[in-house]
Symmetry: C2
Subunit: 319 residues, 2 copies
């Protein structure tokens, strides 16, 4: 079994490879040749363990992720976990990867793929709310599908911003980073906005004139009680894109417009229909909501594993 820690993973990959792995996941999803039961949540005393299994292309992939909200107070990472790859026909255990790094990379890849298929080619100014690990990786990845001149950053929790900017500068050099002092400023200056928070309340203002004609890539909320988008935004759209069917139940950003009858089930469309199907992207404001799926973990970690093998990176252990 090859063990790939965080450092090994970063040494093994390049962003284009991650983006291709995510496109492959959307391709497999569109074609239906995979097995992916609902993910399993185990919550005890506010801490959650999430199991995300998937089988496709003779690989069985299981991600085990712990979510410990109070870790922030202890200066520990909120998300910890592993991804295990097994050859499905033999049960042979191939690889164990750091699950936090894998999650950050594949979530970044999903954001970049959404930007690639939902925004014009010449978009060069992107906004971000939420200066965490996921936000960092989305900006890094999307800088490989669009020629970005400026990132506009906003965070409610300002003390993280400095560290975030230095990390972003390292990942995406020669790109201007502008720290906005309000979300209004952020919206004014950005054609596409990434939201990457776990906020239960809208992180953008309820101002229709500011909200319209932009693209929103929402990768944060993953529970019905969480929702990053302002409610008035739904009066501007007649469809919405999601990564996986169960997003309709799992994120407040999708359950809200459905429950309120602002959107019908059929108005909420899988992004794979844009990438590999016949759905054309609507004009004006666009919303993409990702909650993630195990198929992303599978194709991304398999790409990382193959790449690490080629480059002879990682620690081989005998289990």
């Amino acid at each position: 079994m090859l063990v790939l820690n965080s450092e090994d993973i970063y040494k093994s990959i390049n962003p284009v490879g991650i983006i291709k792995a995510i496109e492959k996941a959307f391709f497999i999803q569109k074609n239906g040749n995979y097995l992916m039961p609902d993910r399993l949540h185990l919550t005890k005393n506010k801490n959650t363990q999430l199991l995300m299994p998937c089988i496709a292309e003779n690989i069985a992939c299981t991600k085990i992720v712990s979510i410990n909200p109070n870790n922030q107070l202890k200066k520990l990472p909120i998300i910890n976990g592993t991804v295990q790859l097994t050859r499905h026909t033999t049960g042979s255990i191939l690889c164990l990867l750091n699950g936090s790094t894998l999650t950050a990379l594949r979530t970044g890849g999903v954001g970049a793929v959404a930007i690639k298929y939902l925004t014009p080619n010449d978009i060069n100014c992107i906004g971000l709310v939420g200066t965490g690990v996921q936000g960092l990786h989305v900006l890094w990845m999307l800088s490989h599908v669009r020629n970005i001149k400026q990132f506009n950053i906003f965070n409610y929790n300002t003390h993280q911003t400095e560290l975030f900017c230095s990390q972003l500068e390292e990942k995406v050099p020669h790109t201007k980073i502008y720290i906005t002092d309000s979300t209004k400023d952020l919206l004014n200056k950005s054609k596409a906005i990434i939201t990457a928070t776990d906020s239960p309340n809208p992180v953008l203002p309820e101002d229709i004139s500011l909200l319209e004609n932009k693209t929103y890539i929402c990768i944060g909320s993953f529970r019905p009680i969480m929702g990053e988008l302002p409610r008035s935004i739904y009066t501007l759209v007649n469809k919405m894109y999601i990564d996986v069917e169960y997003a309709k139940n799992e994120s407040g950003d999708v359950t809200y417009p459905l429950e309120q009858g602002i959107l019908k089930e059929d108005d909420v469309i899988l992004l794979n229909n844009v990438i590999y199907g016949k759905t054309t992207v609507n004009e004006g404001i666009k919303i993409f909501k990702s909650v993630g799926m195990a198929l992303f973990d599978l194709t991304t970690s398999n790409y990382i594993y193959q790449s690490a093998l080629e480059k002879k990176i990682g620690t081989m252990i005998n289990l």
Copy 2:
């Protein structure tokens, strides 16, 4: 994260420790302070991946097991897998263990605990059908709860028997091993019988006079279509012991008497009621059916982990 391969695990443990860990699992099960959702089966092209999660005592344990029936033809192990231990309050990943070895040990421990609580103290002659890894570990473990003078062995697949006997002799020295030429012979010579096969059909004869007044510890069948016990055996009993509630749905050895109305739901009793409750063991023939549960994996692997830490065994890796 501490990685414990098969060899590390055997060096870390002793059978009494495993048996105590299983008793602890029954204790936690009786008290109810644990979280254990139904295990998740993913089956594609006859190969199964089984996810068994559990949280108790601030440990989150997830076992990922692959079952590849055709591996036998390829001379590969049928069961492969891992067990991961995480500290639930922090998400910190503590240990990764070889899942096949853990499964063999904990299944052996369950068999031994059943023998301890369901048979007389002076029982000294045990029969076994099925000379696989699970059978070997049950005999090894139960030799630490009873003073065994003779093992009677039967297997339909005789070419494995020689290897099995040498392994058994190594684990349980100074005990006579008798290879029976029929299951009738086996029943005649044994007061308790372990069945450890994945047979879809009864592995013991339909002969009431031979079957009565013995104890049956069935650790094999784990699907409704599997069943090791002869059907006539159910006419001899008015209760049956199981390890976990879902055994009533998962094993043919329990679904059959329930569906036929030979036993009622209330006649099928959790073993923890014998160990920690007020249920007294019936006279005459006794049947215990185990399908396994994640709580066994949790307490057993946590014992192994603690013991390995103390003895400084295993490989510490930075994930």
